[in-house]
Symmetry: C2
Subunit: 410 residues, 2 copies
């Protein structure tokens, strides 16, 4: 069967770890599989390259930044191919372009629009282990090198698994699976044996960093079976599959996210088109708005609150100041001292009282709720950042998510 394995930067941080990863890869090959490996850049090398770029230009040209950053995977994949050679197998490394990862031209955040894996299937047919550079592709229009954005290697792996009709896509990382909460905040967090694509999507979108949202979306849309596991152990991790085959937990877990800030716009005229004007402006500026909350209006105006990435806060604020006169806004406040805590579970909508239990637990823990937003399988609240650990633990306890084993995190 065809297996796609993805190794993140911490799994290939130095030559010793690369050799360990090669042992794991060749074990899968020895077991009779066709193996395709997607690899990230070594350790912090992408950060180092970015730093060099910023020494030269405050805003490096996007095309050249992509050219620069893709050097990282080129290094890790070539070294990994050498280590596989030492294990007595042959490996062929391919850049995103060589592997047929065709993207749009949006440098730095390109989307895969096609995969033409002819060279991969040829190399597999010749008995080689195939290594593909994660995170990168080539633009269909310009033939320029593109990157898929941070964490894009997950997307590369899942997309390749889909294109190759692989039986399994293993995501190797530095934790041993998906947990009911971040074990650093909730030490008794339990590893989930299995979650549905939809639950994983909500967990990832709510701040569980173990998988990228886009990769999960792709896996869901193409029915790719994922196994998220540690590259430092041989234990099973967490399976991400279509529903039906797995435990039907009501609650999958508690996720948190401290990367966003809250914008509150007071005195928004309660008439058609105002909200659209605000959020179209933000979208045009490529500012990713997450939670949006608007209450019923009182005196003909209302307050609109939403969250944006902390880094985009100043830009969003400037944009809203421009709109203030045009559409008649009141006070605008940006607050980056917040955290989002989310409860995720596919069984949630059929079990009334889940949100109430969560709010009661937070209240009992002395955590004030500043915003609330819900979907069919998720309840998210905004709290003070200093309360995030207490909030995660309180919710985790309230839903009795504790496991018997201590989480393995490295």
């Amino acid at each position: 069967m065809i297996v796609v394995q993805k190794y993140g930067g911490s799994s290939v941080a130095d030559t010793d770890r690369i050799i360990k990863v090669a042992e794991r890869i060749t074990a899968a090959k020895r077991a009779g599989n066709d193996v395709v490996v997607v690899v990230s850049a070594m350790g912090k090398s992408t950060d180092r390259l970015t730093q060099q770029a910023l020494e030269i230009a405050a805003v490096p040209p996007a095309r050249e930044l992509d050219m620069l950053l893709t050097a990282g995977e080129r290094i890790s994949m070539a070294l990994l191919a050498m280590a596989i050679g030492e294990e007595g197998f042959t490996a062929r490394s391919f850049t995103g372009s060589q592997a047929g990862i065709i993207t749009d031209a949006a440098h730095g955040k390109a989307r895969i629009i096609d995969i033409t894996p002819g060279r991969i299937t040829d190399a597999l047919a010749e008995g080689h282990i195939v290594i593909v550079a994660g995170f990168q592709g080539v633009s269909r229009e310009s033939k320029d090198i593109t990157t898929l954005g941070r964490g894009g290697s997950d997307t590369t792996a899942v997309a390749l698994a889909g294109a190759l009709d692989a039986d399994l896509c293993e995501i190797y990382t530095d934790v041993d699976g998906v947990y009911t909460a971040d074990p650093r905040l909730a030490p008794k967090a339990r590893r989930l044996e299995a979650v549905t694509h939809e639950e994983m999507l909500e967990l990832a979108a709510s701040g569980a960093k173990v998988l990228q949202v886009r990769a999960v979306e792709y896996a869901r849309n193409h029915g790719v079976r994922l196994h998220v596991r540690s590259s430092f152990s041989h234990q099973d991790g967490t399976w991400v599959e279509k529903d039906g085959t797995m435990e039907q937990a009501i609650i999958s877990g508690v996720a948190h996210d401290t990367s966003e800030g809250k914008l509150v716009v007071r005195g928004v005229p309660d008439k058609p088109g105002v909200a659209a004007r605000i959020f179209t402006g933000l979208a045009d500026a490529n500012i990713n708005v997450d939670m949006i909350v608007q209450n019923v209006s009182a005196d003909g105006t209302t307050d609109v609150s939403f969250t944006v990435p902390v880094a985009d806060g100043p830009r969003a604020l400037a944009l809203l100041e421009e709109l203030r006169a045009e559409v008649g806004l009141g006070e605008i406040v940006f607050d980056d001292d917040i955290a989002k805590v989310s409860l995720v579970g596919a069984g949630m909508k059929t079990h009334p009282g889940v949100a109430a239990t969560m709010f009661a637990a937070l209240s009992a823990a002395g955590v004030n709720i500043e915003m609330i937003s819900t979907s069919t399988i998720r309840v998210s609240v905004i709290v003070r950042r200093e309360h995030v650990e207490r909030a995660v633990q309180a919710v985790h306890d309230a839903f009795e998510l504790d496991g018997e084993q201590t989480a393995v995190v490295r």
Copy 2:
């Protein structure tokens, strides 16, 4: 006019130097030229990557070593493009493959067999400065990434200048031109204002490291005009051109080379086919033989001496031991404690007594000559390595090559 500029690793060793180089490049663009830049990897980065490969495999697979090493130029060229952007111009960087550098499949020492610079000419037409990764190409057969071997960036630059019909190819390096001798050995060495392609070829082949032999061969065969100069000053360097336009110095300079060892094979049967057997064997093993000297035979046998790169000495010795019984060889001695000193000059053949003057100068300096080999524009001798400095100075003095200025070497 079209100008090709090549910058070596020391010229782009860190981000500060990259910014300096960008200033020089944009000055050429500002002066109205179409500028194509060929760039090497930053400083010692190729050495560092090689070291990482050797930590994993004693003999890394050649295809993957090429994949690894080409990451170096990808980094330097992208950073350089960003620095040019800061100067108010746009630059487009291209890998060897994107630039249409088509090679054979000999990983690690590929030869350029074709250049299809469509993307380069398009980018120039759009007003961009073009940056091309030196030292690399793509195999016509396998579509795999190849490298041209150490110093291959010179070859990339000269070949591109030929393919683009460039008016000039500037080779920027850490010395300010080609000297009558290595200024570290002969402090009063004089910078040559101009040499012919043929003289430069002999100088390069004789150990003057400022240009690669293959690059000079290419320049000679395609009539590319070169300007070898320092990236740390704005002085003119040395022009390398077809003869006719330049000073007709009898003697261009004194070169030396300490990278070779001497093999002496005694008691070689003086009959047809024996020498051929020896040198075919060495060629098949890919050992590059340089000077070959064989004297008239005495008692039906003769001594054959030749030089090979020091690193290939043990392999050559083993090969000759295998041949010993087959063709009946006598004693075989390898001596790596030698140096080659060469006197080069296009006017040499029409000026009798040049070799005699050289030998007399060496004798007067107490330097023993162990081997002699001559071409129409070069006389090379092998001496003890400890005598190399004294030999270079003696020959330099004898031909009054001293200049008035002290060489600038950085």
